[in-house]
């Protein structure tokens, strides 16, 4: 457990991907099975259950620490596990070494639910702050050490001197603690045999999201791997992104929700088809095979993406202008016909060409401290537009400014606070943001009845008086104009 906590600490503070990979490989060399397999699972996010819930941790700490002090500390630190790691008041000096990562995983796996708090308390009291942090992160599966699933596979490939595509191919058939994988990478065994059965849906980041989209998966008959975009379709028409959003983070969607908002897949690429790997073929060839595969079959939930061919720039501009007259289309994807299918986002191959964002001038109303990298800075801003002489909030933005601007904004918030609501500061209605966003929707969440999609701060208008900001009506009109 100690080696694991040190690894996490080092990964956390290291910025360079290369150094991170070196650290992980050194750990894999120095650590026996099955410990290192559990570490891989923790980093890759493939552990299948929480050892304990965040709420259990919160209850435990409140048994030991004054609730006001906890709340203030949490607000300041901006992250639960670290707050608890530092606040935990007991530390028994024990010469007895901590159990191995495997033992800890096993103990929490087999622990009866009512006994979990006791077990957790015992470990927290035996650990240093950084070890506590590692245990809490591991146990709530909230590890964020800046290593994506994809980067980890790359790192494993380097460690075993194998091709990363081989790891990608077998990955979803493997389970923690990955002893078969490690045996292969160490050269003691052949590549694990993963017969490619079953169906799964993966997000762009490599996470398995099959459970959320049973309706889609059930409808698909396929020997191959496709790439595409999830959409909700109603009456054969693509529904607004808002509808899809209701499905996105539901781990177990109800039958009713699945019927109300059926999810379809717009397919635009194929990685394998009928046992043939297509990734090294140019896009034009992959697409030809995909088209052929589609032909003559009925796919209730799969749809081929529309292809357009343009021969000059003007035609391309026109095409985009035409496309974005559709209310739910954000723009065009431009792809090189000779591009192969590779990991990551190599530049110059595919481009997303969105429509220009809408822009309104809004007034900052509230500010809250950020989390993670921005903890303790006031970096989350709620802004509003005018209705008569009242400001009504229309959204929140966390991005679009530089670190330098963030510092200035943070200072501005601190100097212009007029009220507190818990961690939220109300500020003087005096500063205007130029807010860029992709679209406007009706929403019950804000008093204004509107919600913006992907709002970000386009410019900070230090110069503009607040009463010259836009009105709510101006924003509302944007719902219907496109």
């Amino acid at each position: 457990m100690d080696a694991f906590s040190q690894l996490l600490d080092q990964l956390y503070f290291t910025n360079s991907t290369k150094t991170k990979s070196a650290l992980i490989q050194a750990y894999l060399h120095a650590t026996p099975d099955p410990d290192r397999g559990w570490a891989i699972a923790a980093i890759a996010g493939t552990l299948t259950f929480d050892f304990f819930k965040r709420n259990t941790v919160k209850k435990l700490i409140l048994d030991h620490v004054d609730p006001t002090l906890f709340a203030l500390s949490y607000d300041y630190v901006g992250e639960m596990s670290e707050t608890v790691a530092h606040l935990w008041p007991h530390s028994i000096n024990s010469d007895e070494p901590l159990p191995s990562l495997h033992e800890i995983v096993m103990q929490f796996t087999h622990c009866k639910k009512p006994e979990v708090p006791t077990l957790l308390t015992r470990y927290l009291s035996r650990m240093y702050a950084s070890q506590r942090w590692a245990l809490l992160k591991l146990g709530t599966r909230g590890l964020r050490v800046g290593v994506s699933a994809r980067a980890l596979k790359q790192c494993l490939a380097e460690y075993g001197n194998v091709d990363v595509s081989d790891i990608e191919r077998i990955w979803h058939g493997l389970t923690p603690p990955y002893t078969d994988l490690m045996a292969w990478l160490d050269g003691h065994a052949p590549i694990p045999d993963v017969s490619d059965k079953g169906k799964a849906l993966y997000s762009r980041t490599g996470d398995d999201i099959s459970h959320s989209f049973g309706d889609l998966l059930d409808s698909v008959e396929l020997n191959g791997r496709l790439d595409g975009e999830l959409v909700v379709m109603l009456n054969s028409k693509v529904a607004p992104f808002n509808d899809l959003q209701q499905r996105l983070n539901k781990k177990k969607p109800s039958k009713r929700l699945m019927e109300m908002l059926p999810v379809h897949l717009i397919v635009y690429d194929a990685l394998t088809l009928d046992g043939n790997t297509l990734t090294s073929l140019p896009l034009s060839e992959r697409r030809k095979q995909l088209d052929a595969w589609f032909e003559g079959k009925r796919h209730p939930r799969l749809h081929l993406s529309e292809k357009f061919t343009v021969t000059n720039k003007d035609a391309c501009v026109q095409l985009r202008e035409h496309a974005i007259t559709h209310p739910h289309i954000e723009g065009l994807m431009l792809k090189r016909l000779d591009s192969v299918y590779v990991n990551g986002r190599p530049s110059g191959q595919w481009y997303k060409w969105k429509r220009d964002p809408y822009v309104v001038d809004a007034v900052i109303m509230y500010a809250q401290r950020g989390h993670g990298k921005r903890s303790s800075f006031y970096s989350d801003y709620t802004f509003g537009t005018w209705q008569g002489d009242t400001l009504l909030p229309i959204g929140k933005a966390y991005s679009g400014f530089t670190d330098e601007e963030l510092k200035k904004l943070d200072t501005w918030v601190r100097k212009n606070t007029v009220g507190h609501f818990g961690p939220v500061k109300e500020v003087k209605k005096a500063l205007v943001f130029e807010i860029a966003f992709d679209s406007v929707h009706e929403s019950k969440r804000h008093k204004s009845g509107l919600a913006l999609r992907f709002p970000r701060i386009h410019r900070i208008r230090w110069d503009k008086p607040a009463n010259e900001a836009d009105t709510l009506d101006t924003v509302r009109r944007l719902i219907t104009t496109r």
Partner: protein
């Protein structure tokens, strides 16, 4: 007379009416009493400045001989009269243990007294006299690290972390971010204490204050300005100290294979270290941590505590739970510069 009758918070800072003097004012004033030399407390342009000799010297190093029209140097424990002869205010300075020259300011008027502790700490620090617990009617404390998540580890452990990293990455130049005044000298002391005898390389902005510390009898072994190193590649495996602003600046690009460390009390919070892009966070603070703040409030044992800049809510909450009256003096303008922590 209770200090609340004769002390107030104005735009320029904390003001003592019968003495017509400000403590660590934010703007130029006619008379300023300065607790210590950090830039957010000691600003230039006052007419008259009262402080310890070391603090006045620090201000001269930073702002030149004209840092104020008139300067009064006081020894620790020496009484100095302000206000009218018939109705005097007695000013006395006591050591605060924060940095060289740092002082607590005690003001006594018509039978009551108040102490402004300024920034202070309770850990051993050979570069300054230790904090003197002094009785008073109102104790004014800072609250920089006033949350129970803050407990600073021993200096030795953190310096050891740096030396350990130097062993692990002997080919990398270890660039340590330190505040020029106080932190820099404390890190140097810590290194020498653990037997690190190689030269330490300094960014130009750190040189003058190190020279001043030397005048005050503090020897830090061999210090070499980075600007005097002809072949920067030779700094691989060496320790270079620089102000935090230089860590990710163009200046540091000339150093070979840099491993970035940062020495500050804030480094205890992971996200803060990330904001600094420090790969090696060293938790070294010149302020009290949470247990030390509470210990100090207990030992000073004043019937009333006022809390200045920092995380005052938590400290006030805890002090009131201890049965002591507490209130916040909301002071903006401190912590603006990058010298705190």
């Amino acid at each position: 007379m209770h200090p609340k009758e004769w002390i107030s918070v104005r735009d320029a800072g904390i003001y003592c009416h019968p003495a017509d003097a400000y403590i660590d004012p934010l703007e130029p004033v006619s008379r300023a009493i300065i607790t210590h030399g950090h830039a957010d407390h000691a600003r230039p342009g006052h007419h008259c400045v009262v402080s310890t000799k070391a603090t006045l010297d620090i201000m001269r190093v930073r702002y030149g001989e004209e840092m104020a029209k008139d300067a009064v140097a006081l020894k620790y424990g020496e009484d100095y009269q302000l206000g009218e002869d018939a109705d005097p205010v007695k000013l006395t300075l006591y050591p605060a243990g924060h940095i060289l020259g740092s002082a607590q300011v005690k003001l006594s008027y018509r039978g009551n007294s108040i102490i402004f502790a300024g920034d202070y700490k309770r850990r051993h620090d050979p570069t300054c006299e230790p904090f003197a617990v002094t009785p008073c009617d109102v104790f004014v404390t800072e609250a920089t690290f006033a949350l129970p998540v803050f407990t600073h580890p021993p200096l030795k452990d953190e310096i050891q972390k740096l030396l350990h990293s130097l062993d692990t990455f002997p080919e990398r130049c270890h660039l340590v971010g330190v505040y020029a005044l106080g932190k820099c000298q404390r890190v140097l002391y810590g290194l020498r204490q653990l037997g690190y005898s190689k030269p330490v390389y300094l960014h130009g902005a750190l040189l003058n204050l190190c020279a001043l510390y030397r005048e005050y009898g503090h020897n830090f072994g061999e210090l070499i300005p980075v600007s005097e190193v002809a072949n920067k590649k030779s700094l691989a495996g060496e320790i270079v100290l620089a102000p935090p602003s230089a860590l990710n600046d163009r200046w540091s690009r000339k150093l070979p294979n840099v491993r970035t460390a940062m020495a500050s009390g804030w480094m205890q919070i992971r996200a803060r270290s990330k904001q600094r892009q420090a790969e090696l966070p060293l938790i070294i603070s010149d302020h009290c941590d949470w247990p030390e703040l509470l210990r100090t409030v207990k030992e000073v044992d004043a019937p009333e505590v006022w809390v200045t800049h920092g995380r005052e809510e938590a400290l006030i909450h805890q002090i009131e739970k201890m049965g002591i009256r507490a209130k916040a003096l909301s002071l903006l303008g401190y912590e603006d510069t990058e010298e705190t922590g």
